[in-house]
């Protein structure tokens, strides 16, 4: 109850911040950009000073000339696209790997030898290798291997990035989900089995839904982590946000504006999604049943 109130307060505070920023932007627009037939002389002076300032000229050179801001806009779109699909791939892989790993642990007694156990053991080991290799090597190296070695003949950079970051993320998601599965009380599993549900259905109807709820914030965090991680995609020539800023830098030979702009955009996105995650966390805590 009190938690819900806090969530409301959080949303209200956020709206206040957004409101203040909007007002500031609006005032800046009034003072500097709004077309006027006649304006007071102090405003005219202000505009002359602003548009003649080194700051504005630098800004114009980096973002306005040749529509250079499009590098940022398009790059941001690519960043979101890659992150979104990589997270999806990561969750699918992560759930599969987590299920294989934890089902082997639970079923190794129930399956007394036989073909089924051998297959499960094979996948269990395979998943172990996957986790070790992916978590033991830098994501940039994985990205470059996928692009230059595995997909040497293809030029679909977005696909390569989605694969690389998805496969990478899957290893971390797997551990998150496995933790979630283990956090569900053992009695839940026994209750499901005692009703007559098999292993798979007990997982699907009873364990996974509960595990998912506890790991949802962690999964959302994975999205935030990935947004930043995809910034190394420039290594394979993918023009996402960071690369977009870097291209501008290489055109204008001025580093400050484009790179700071890129950093600010990441920061705002990360802060926004972190804020959403905190709302989600609170909500889940409240509905704890």
């Amino acid at each position: 109850m009190s938690g819900k109130k806090t969530n409301k307060t959080k949303i209200r505070n956020a709206l206040i911040v957004i409101g203040v920023i909007a007002v500031a932007v609006f005032i800046a627009y009034l003072l500097l950009f709004m077309p006027m037939n006649s304006m007071p002389s102090w405003m005219e002076n202000l505009r002359t000073a602003f548009f003649g300032s080194a700051f504005y000229l630098d800004f114009e050179n980096n973002f306005i000339t040749d529509k250079r801001y499009m590098y940022i806009v398009k790059g941001l779109g690519v960043t979101f696209e890659v992150t979104f699909f990589a997270v999806l791939l990561g969750i699918v892989l992560g759930v599969i790997v987590a299920l294989v790993r934890s089902s082997y642990d639970t079923l190794k007694e129930e399956l007394k030898g036989g073909f089924g156990k051998a297959i499960l053991f094979f996948f269990y080991k395979l998943c172990g290798v996957y986790l070790t290799v992916i978590r033991g090597t830098p994501v940039v190296v994985q990205l470059m291997i996928i692009y230059f070695v595995i997909f040497a003949s293809s030029n679909n950079k977005i696909l390569v990035a989605v694969l690389a970051f998805g496969i990478n993320s899957g290893a971390y998601v797997a551990e998150i989900i496995r933790g979630g599965i283990m956090s569900v009380d053992k009695g839940q599993f026994e209750a499901g089995r005692s009703l007559g549900f098999g292993y798979v259905r007990t997982m699907a109807f009873i364990i996974i839904p509960q595990a998912f709820k506890t790991v949802l914030p962690a999964l959302a965090n994975e999205f935030i982590v990935l947004i930043k991680e995809t910034s190394v995609s420039g290594y394979v020539g993918l023009q996402e946000l960071t690369k977009g800023g870097d291209i501008i830098r290489s055109r204008t030979y001025s580093a400050f504006m484009p790179l700071i702009a890129v950093a600010v955009i990441y920061l705002v996105i990360v802060m926004f999604f972190s804020w959403l995650v905190s709302l989600l966390e609170r909500r889940l805590k409240n509905s704890e049943r």
């Binding site: 007694e109 839940q188 089995r193 005692s194 098999g198 509960q210």
Partner: protein
């Protein structure tokens, strides 16, 4: 003995060892449970009561020995344990209701998915059962919104919704506040009177005396003494049983 067609569960020389035989949770248990019997299992903590009960539906895999249920050896690898468990309801000390599902859904999920009941059929049945335990108005609540006694009554009818042949209870009132024990025992008494076959681990000696057709006293993984409630409580033979009763009564 197993020729007696009233026997529903037959246990022969059941052993369950942990840590390569270091811990003998069950050390050769042999008994038959007949249709309509209410068997109450008593004994000190760690004597193997839970292990015995949980072996009956194979939540624990016995190390050796056999268990037959309605004539089929359930310990053989070819038995479909999921099918078998549908006929044995189990009630746990800590209720183990599914917290992410409503009470109604807790009770309908297994009949729908496993017996193929339609939603309407399953819900109708669930509502009848809820009515019987006086919790019809809580159908759409979530488990966290119920008291312990209410949770355990729901856990009992959740198991009953599968129309089991046998009901297994593992200390169903041990996690309850004292004032809630009665309401759960009442449900169990009604069930016993209605002829349900029950195996019940409990420390409620009053319940055992009133409802049990037979009481089993276990210690150190063995059945030390089994008899009618009068025999166990009024004329205990074994001295371990005598000292156990002195402590609990």
């Amino acid at each position: 003995m197993s020729a007696d067609n009233n026997v529903i569960i037959s246990v022969t020389d059941l052993k369950k060892h942990y840590n390569d035989g270091e811990v003998k949770a069950l050390d050769g248990v042999t008994t038959d449970i007949k249709k309509g019997e209410v068997v109450v299992v008593i004994g000190p903590s760690g004597s193997g009561k839970s292990t015995f009960l949980r072996s009956l539906n194979l939540l624990e895999r016995p190390t050796s020995g056999t268990i037959t249920f309605e004539g089929t050896d359930i310990t053989s690898p070819s038995t479909d344990i999921n099918k078998l468990r549908q006929d044995m309801g189990m009630v746990f000390q800590h209720f183990n209701l599914f917290p992410h599902l409503t009470i109604l859904r807790n009770m309908t999920i297994a009949p729908m998915k496993l017996h193929g009941l339609s939603k309407e059929e399953a819900e109708k049945k669930a509502m009848e059962l809820l009515e019987r335990v006086g919790l019809k108005d809580r159908a759409s609540a979530y488990p966290s919104q119920l008291s312990g006694g209410q949770k355990q009554r729901i856990a009992i009818v959740r198991a009953l919704a599968m129309d089991p042949q046998v009901m297994l209870f593992d200390e169903p009132t041990s996690a309850l506040d004292p004032e809630m024990v009665g309401e759960v025992l009442d449900v169990m008494k009604v069930l016993a009177k209605a002829g349900m076959t029950m195996v019940c681990v409990t420390h409620e000696m009053g319940f055992a005396r009133e409802v049990a057709t037979r009481v089993i006293f276990m210690d150190c993984g063995r059945i030390i003494e089994e008899n009618t409630p009068e025999g166990i409580f009024d004329h205990p033979q074994n001295e371990r049983l005598q000292s156990f009763l002195k402590k609990v009564l």
